[in-house]
Subunit: 84 residues, 2 copies
Amino acid sequence: MDFVTILGLTAGTLTTIAFFPQLLKVWQSKSARDISLTWLITFSSGILLWLFYGISVNGLPIILSNSITLALTLVILYFKFKFG
Amino acid sequence: MDFVTILGLTAGTLTTIAFFPQLLKVWQSKSARDISLTWLITFSSGILLWLFYGISVNGLPIILSNSITLALTLVILYFKFKFG
């Protein structure tokens, strides 16, 4: 695997795993007040399109990272509606 | 421009512009309490690597969208330290 591919995979891993502590924080504090609903909806919509893009170009790392990110942002969105 | 490229550009635009309302919210409320510092640092680091990746593959849309996203998340990070 070449350096650029490793760079891309590392980037994708970081921008994906980043959402675990955010999800945990909202779940523990039972508050998502400072998280913008517009951010959540726009960002999740963009991630869904990245997922379709990944499927279109048959890019497994894009499909994997965006599936996980989308799942995590949708749970945060659920908490946003639940906790406010 | 083919459909897949338009799909990718739309996805990149959405995941980038999403950060404007989040930045505005934190700035207006003077609070970033519910935003995870670990998320901010991990996500920004990942975006920085995506930027290096974009430069490596000479991908202008990747460079553009990640430059703007990085600038926005760094301002949110500044507000996180400033407002808590």
